[in-house]
C-alpha cells in the first residue's frame, strides 16, 4: 500500500505499470484518475489546498478500511495539491484484487471517501475569477452505499 500527497505531477502510465508489476495473485487491477476538466474554451486551472498531516492520516485510514473490507492484494493513492492546469491529472487510485468485483468496489469506495473525507479543497480559476468548488450532495450521499 502506497500513499503520496505531492505537488509534483505524476505519470499515470508509469505509476500503473509500477503498481501492476508487483501484484502476484491478483487477477484484476483497477485504476481511477481524476483530471482537471478542460472544456476547450474556458480552460480552468485549479488550485488545490490541503491540510498537511491530516491529509495523510485521513487517506491512510480510508485505505485501511478498504483493506479490511475487500480482499486486496495492493492499493495506491496519489493526490496532488497546488496549482494544476486544465487536463492535468489531480489524483489517482489503483487497486489490485484476485477478482474484479473487489478491485472495482475498493476503487469506488476509496474515491467516494477521498472526495468527501480527505481534507482537500479545490478552487477553480477561470477568466471570470476564482471559485471554491462546492461539495455536492450526491458525493455525500455516495458514502451511504458503503
Amino acid at each position: 500500500m502506497r500513499l503520496s500527497v505531492q505537488a509534483e505531477a505524476f505519470d499515470l502510465g508509469a505509476e500503473s505499470n509500477a503498481f501492476a508489476a508487483h501484484v502476484a495473485g491478483a487477477g484484476a487491477v483497477v485504476t481511477f484518475t481524476g483530471l482537471v476538466r478542460d472544456n476547450g474554451g474556458s480552460l480552468a486551472a485549479m488550485e488545490i489546498e490541503h491540510y498537511p498531516g491530516m491529509t495523510e492520516k485521513a487517506i491512510a485510514a480510508i485505505m485501511d478500511q478498504a483493506k479490511a473490507r475487500w480482499s486486496l492484494v495492493d492499493a495506491l493513492v496519489i493526490h496532488r495539491y497546488g496549482r494544476l492546469a486544465g487536463g492535468e491529472a489531480i489524483m489517482m487510485v489503483a487497486t489490485a484484487a484476485p477478482h474484479r468485483a473487489d478491485a472495482f468496489a475498493a476503487a469506488e469506495f476509496l474515491m467516494d471517501y477521498l472526495k468527501s473525507r480527505a481534507p482537500f479543497w479545490k478552487k477553480e480559476l477561470s477568466a471570470d475569477g476564482a471559485t471554491w468548488v462546492a461539495a455536492k450532495g450526491e458525493d455525500e450521499a455516495a458514502l451511504n452505499r458503503w
Binding site: Y51, G53, K57, I90, K115, P119, V133, A134, A135
Partner: protein, 82 residues
Amino acid sequence: MIDVLYFAWVRERIGLPREKVQTDAATVADLIAELSAREERYALAFSDLAALRVALDQELSSFDAPLAGVREVAFFPPMTGG
C-alpha cells in the same frame, strides 16, 4: 493555548491560515462563540455552521465536542478531494 487552523474560504474570510488562541472554551461551539465575538470577519466566517466542518487534532469531529486536551482545532468547508 491551542492552535486554530483555517482552510479554503474560511481562511480567506478570517484572513489568516492559523493562529494561537488562549481560551477556556469547553467545547468547539464555545470556541466559535468566543471567536465570533471578537471581530466581524470571524462572525462572518462562522455564520453558517452547516457549511463548516471541524477537526480536532486532525480527526473530523463535531461542534459539541469537548476541547479538553485538544492541541489543534481546524475549521474548513466540506472537503472536495478526488
